[in-house]
Amino acid sequence: MVLAGVAFLAAFGSLLAPQNPLNINANALFQGPGLHHLLGTDYLGRDVLSRLMAGTRLSVLTALEAVGIGLVLGAAPGIATVFLGRWFDFAANRVADALMTLPSIFFVVAVTAALGNGLVQAMVPVGVLLAPAFFRVTRAATLEHARAQYVEAAELLGASKLHVIRVHVLRKVLPNIAVTTAMMTAAALLTVSFLTFLGIGVQPPAPTWGGILSSDLDYLNQAPWAALIPGALIAITVGALNALADAFRDRSSAGTLSLADPVIAINPALERAYADQHSQSVA
């Protein structure tokens, strides 16, 4: 539910802001929360609430962009590597290893220095850094299913690798990808906030959660609300994303014939009887 709210804000935030977030009003510095400005104003007199709402969009979208890059760069090779032979797998694994060793902040700084300091440009290296996680997870999940006997049976019928992936593997791997996506979005959001906090990838005065946090941190004494609220927002969203990941995980393992039922577990023959309950035909 939290995420629905955040998503909504991201989509429509900039339109709904009660006031122009960039409006500098020198007369209204450091006002506490009040009727006119629900969350108060910051050191330049800008309405904090409006800034937050507008900033949501930027932060969230860029995080999603990074995750998207990571997903495409990581998940697709993750599935393919299981089917493309030992050499490809070896090479892909080494590439993933290399990417994982890169120190993230320096890498992002280096890339943005090369490509220019825009938020979009900053998301590309973040996406690249997220890709190995997607790769590892999808590879592990695919391995589990690619050696199954029903895949061998399909091969015996003449199935091509693409058929096997499409019919048998993909739908079993999607839950793992969903879980990873949720977790990586949380990571990306944190990274975006961190980067914008450092001032990388975003030009002021465009509002982002991290940017707001950074710029208002200096004035913690005078206007604590301005800095604390973005921080809280980041923390809550990340927590909600992790909860979503857990929910995905739980749902995907439910619904199978439950051998955790102790009566069945002690006796495979009883499992047959249990399964027989669901059948109506003879023998």
Binding site: Q149, A153, E155, G158
Partner: protein, 339 residues
């Protein structure tokens, strides 16, 4: 039910021929020779029972025939075409023709739990892509009918049907590919006696109505009793006896075959030989320990000096071969041993 064995006309070419096949599994220091020098021929229309205990290599043999495992030596010929050592694309083309199909041992693992019965049984025709969906539906229903299941199961998943039904869906999937040879790996091991007989009878009906040769692989004789025309006995990767059922069971020529028969539980306690007469006792002389010794020597109470060399499969009658140096003598020796 036909009471006489269906023997192919003499001189007819076999449908499947395995020639001197060796199979090695595992790599490096873990490599093990699972099959040695296997010579096996299957003729059209016969039911062959392949018996082997744990470690005999029987499942590997099934997987080798269908190409899931490449032979290290020897070759496999189906209907005149060598099907071992094919490149992946050619192998896939051969498979799409569906000639040789394998029914796996465990339907819980060999049926995709997320697919419906319709999707599972129709996978072969769909891969071939030569018919439209209505025609494929018809073929699926026909295949299900052949195994005694009806169309109400089409939309169920494997978890929603019973174990016996899953086994039959597995067979239906193989049938839908229009095979010319069917290999069933332990089709009845996990079933009780009545369901076992039902499935065996079903296989026999399939052979009778379609002329389909069937290889039934099992770990004991009771699981293929009653329907096999021919029995092939496998021990540690080698065929030790291969002959017509009536004759082999009336008078087995290999002591291991006799041991299998004697060990099988039965409600009639009238065995010609007891298992103890066919097992090594501590008082028997030690068997030859050479690495080329007969694979059964370490367990054989009749092992002599000659058994230090692996015996070849040699004819012992019409379409009957045995790999035993002492095939003429061990019978009398066994009868003289204490029960």
């Amino acid at each position: 039910m036909t009471a006489t064995a269906t023997l192919p006309p003499p001189g007819a070419p076999p449908l499947l021929a395995m020639e001197s096949v060796d199979v090695i599994l595992g790599r490096g220091w873990r490599a093990a020779k699972v099959l040695s020098g296997v010579d096996l021929r299957i003729w059209p229309g016969e039911i062959v029972g392949l018996v082997g205990e744990t470690g005999s290599g029987k499942t590997t043999l099934a997987r080798t025939v269908v190409g899931l495992v490449p032979p290290a030596r020897g070759r496999i010929v189906f209907d005149g075409t060598t099907i071992s050592q094919l490149r992946p694309r050619a192998r896939r083309a051969v498979r799409r023709r569906g000639h040789v199909q394998l029914v796996f041992q465990d339907p819980l693992r060999s049926l995709d739990p997320d697919l419906t019965v319709d999707e599972i049984v129709g996978e072969g025709p769909r891969i071939r892509g030569e018919a439209d969906s209505a025609e494929i539906r018809r073929r699926v229903i026909a295949a299900l009918e052949q195994v005694g299941l009806d169309a109400t199961l089409l939309d169920r998943t494997p978890g929603q049907i019973s174990g016996g039904q899953r086994q039959r869906v597995s067979i239906a999937r193989a049938l839908a590919a229009d095979p010319r040879l069917l290999i069933c790996d332990e089709p009845v091991s996990a079933l009780d006696a009545s369901s076992r007989n039902y499935i065996l009878r079903l296989l026999q009906q399939l052979r009778d109505s379609l002329g389909l040769p069937i290889v039934v692989i099992s770990h004991d004789l009771s699981s293929l009793a009653g329907i096999a025309d021919r029995v092939v006995v496998l021990y540690r990767g080698r065929i030790v006896e291969d002959g017509p059922v009536e004759q082999v069971f009336a008078a087995p020529r290999h002591p291991y075959t006799a041991l299998l028969m004697a060990s099988a539980p039965s409600v009639r306690h009238d065995r010609p030989l007891s298992p103890r007469q066919l097992r090594r006792a501590d008082t028997d002389p030690a068997p030859p320990g050479s690495p080329e010794a007969c694979v059964f020597a370490h367990r054989c109470p009749f092992a002599a000096a000659a058994c230090a060399e692996q015996p070849a499969l040699e004819p012992a009658g019409e379409r009957w071969s045995v790999a035993c140096h002492r095939r003429e003598e061990w019978g009398a020796l066994a009868r003289n041993r204490p029960r």
